[in-house]
Symmetry: C2
Subunit: 508 residues, 2 copies
Amino acid sequence: MKNILGRELPEYIEGYGKVTPYGTHISETYKIKETVKNKNNGDKVLPSIREALIKCGIKDGMTISFHHHLRNGDYVLNQVLEEIKKLGIQNIKVAASSIFPIHAPMVDLIEKGVVTKIITNYISGPVARAVSEGKLREPIVMMTHGGRPRAIESGDLKIDMAFIGAPACDDFGNINGVDGRAACGSLGYTISDAMYAEKVVAVTDNLVPYPACPIEISQIYVDYVVKIDEIGDPSGIVSGTTKITKNPIGLKIAKETVKVIKYSGLLKDGMSFQTGAGGTSLAVAKELKDLMIKEKVTGSFASGGTTSYIVDMLNEGLFKYILDVQCFDSAAVKSYKENKNHMGMSASMYGNPNTKGSVVDKLDIMILGATEIDLDYNVNVTTGSDGVLMGGSGGHSDTAYGAKLSIVVTNLIKGRLPIIKDRVTTVTTPGSSIDILVTERGISVNPKRQDLIEKLKSNIKLVKIEDLKEIAENLTGKPKEIKNHDKIIGVAEYRDGSVIDVIRRTDF
Amino acid sequence: MKNILGRELPEYIEGYGKVTPYGTHISETYKIKETVKNKNNGDKVLPSIREALIKCGIKDGMTISFHHHLRNGDYVLNQVLEEIKKLGIQNIKVAASSIFPIHAPMVDLIEKGVVTKIITNYISGPVARAVSEGKLREPIVMMTHGGRPRAIESGDLKIDMAFIGAPACDDFGNINGVDGRAACGSLGYTISDAMYAEKVVAVTDNLVPYPACPIEISQIYVDYVVKIDEIGDPSGIVSGTTKITKNPIGLKIAKETVKVIKYSGLLKDGMSFQTGAGGTSLAVAKELKDLMIKEKVTGSFASGGTTSYIVDMLNEGLFKYILDVQCFDSAAVKSYKENKNHMGMSASMYGNPNTKGSVVDKLDIMILGATEIDLDYNVNVTTGSDGVLMGGSGGHSDTAYGAKLSIVVTNLIKGRLPIIKDRVTTVTTPGSSIDILVTERGISVNPKRQDLIEKLKSNIKLVKIEDLKEIAENLTGKPKEIKNHDKIIGVAEYRDGSVIDVIRRTDF
């Protein structure tokens, strides 16, 4: 069968189950699953991860969850999986909100059958490559940052044990992310895990006196506390990607983008804004800041993952509040700790479609990246053009859906390949959520947004996306189509749990 | 049948159901109920309470919940019930976390059959009297502050609609308690209602621009927002009871109490403390403050409802943190708003026994009041000695259960009646949770705490509770026993949902 984007999907995928195609009518109600838990108001501190696994009743086939606030500095996932291996456990499903290069040791565990399934929102590095090679027994499930809490809360993704890397934790399991050598700030992606996992283990290298204020995860959800030497590498927690591009093409795109914002009618008091942490996206933040100062505009909030550029805008009064699901750098961690106007939010509040409304629903302007975009404005940030996993939605489809103005900013050509395709290798975000594409060689509005075309056309030169594609192909030549295996190695779930695409095995 | 305290209970109570007697074995697991809700990421603002009731599908027999953070200044409950009456609805069950004299108009609604059941943790004033007179069709259910969220979360208390009086609220339903003319501080008692009610309506007199930071109740739980003129009377929100007693008897009791704390071995760095907002309890806080300064002791946290006296202790560094479920005065509201070390907590985190551990489980010293206490140290704060409802547990039994040292402080004689009885009129808190009684004429340790007797006896004169009773009766004469009706008008639930006592009708 095909979903409404024309992506070919089987009705049933072994190791995944029945496929609900994207675009199917979804209910106006939502369910929060029943949970049954064990009380524990006694001693919660255990001497080792191994002990915690045993106490929690680890067994073959369980789903173990992790969060990615420690990013590419995370030591927790590897240590827990190593102990699981040592206990002779097999067939573990890893539900990690993101997976980074530091998690390379998982490849060996995949080959040994210790890990047989991965559910995540973003994956890069050796594990991504191993999955693309077809090494994982069951298909990887790629969710969105809002889709993950939806799945956890509804029971679609049942977590047996959640391990929470805790920068600061007390002996009763209260956790905060702002104190300690591995301080990472907001712990927004852990909230659903803490609330709905059968068992919750806090793993900390910083056991502080009770209570671990400012408490972000409450003791009422935590079964056990384990003290280890190091939960992470601070230099990896604060990723190196969060710098403004110096590339003149990126800077040009950023300037064009704020022109779009200016003439869109959304540049006004009370506006809200989110941007990713890529170099061009951050350049947009910088340009927008200058424009807001010049035009004397004060925004309401900036949301999402937070960088120093957004913190500066808060401190200069350009936004009143930050709603933060994840801190990308130490300036963001410091601000989150000290500034009452820099608030945390759960992933559910950020982007879960099954609530009474998430923050993305209130977002005006969203700046998004793209690995590929097609003539229907469908965006791929999940795989490279060679089909290899190298990312995932994260909050891409959540914010694109919610924002009044979703702007994709990208170089027209990357690695000598045009980014505009007839058909993206993998659909991450449907074109219906994308309003405009800004490249260094032209700006193209999704034809469904005639109102936006009307607003922009007298001040900004707009081109058809087909013409942009031709410009690129004239420079690079038409790229050869990659023929992947037929074997499905991954399922890309839209935020509502429907299947927006499948990912097939790559030959290297 | 009788429960383990010897209180006579029927096996089934009409309008309440099957009785689980207090002391019955309770499971080590707990259930959080499934909920099914409607999404709502559209326009949430409605023009009136009436409109909200209609949109939420109000009908006969529904359970409507309210919180008591606006205390005796609350205008929300009365306005909502008035609209319900005007809609011709009957047989409403009111689940209000507390009921105050300001809710007097409910008496008329009880008489008219609009309100036929009340579930609350504390009740005083005309409604309490009407219930005692037998006017309410079904028995009132008296819960504890921790038992209420347990009942809501497990599904024992199913709430159809929660109305949340919101000092500040945005158009998407984010709520905080710190801004606006009706600022009340922490909204700890509303959290379970917001999370588990079928429908949630925020009622505000202060519609602020989105987002209403610092957000205490998230938009993800709120269906509708109604703007009204006034949600409460600020002078009633900050109750007049929160002043240190000037009575020399109360001051003497306070001095004796801190001597008990000193010699108990609990006066040390890292200690935690809670006291109520009664005059003698506050005097204990004052005396404790002086002692902590003198002995150079720094505590970890003070918890519970917060007054300026506790705020002072935080500001002077005597406690590192306040964990706050409810602010009693404007100094507490201000501190809660401005000081990051003054944190809110939900009622569940405060005292719900069905979690992974609540704050009361970490409490060292708890100062409690008593209307009556019996020779088994059972305490009544629910009814007067005449059997008339005039209070309720609130957090009494939750904190008494959790604290390492539960101290009841009270005048030995009140209103010419001795407070020590053979048998309290109503058991609110079981004697097994009470460690010591401090009166102006003697201090008596619960014999089950031989360890405490050993610690205290060389520095503090201890007497038997039987002797204290005799001292009082020699002064007042032995009071006549009150014979109440047999008709059960109320059920006192212990925090685990078992029935600790029943309340019978009073003849006036």
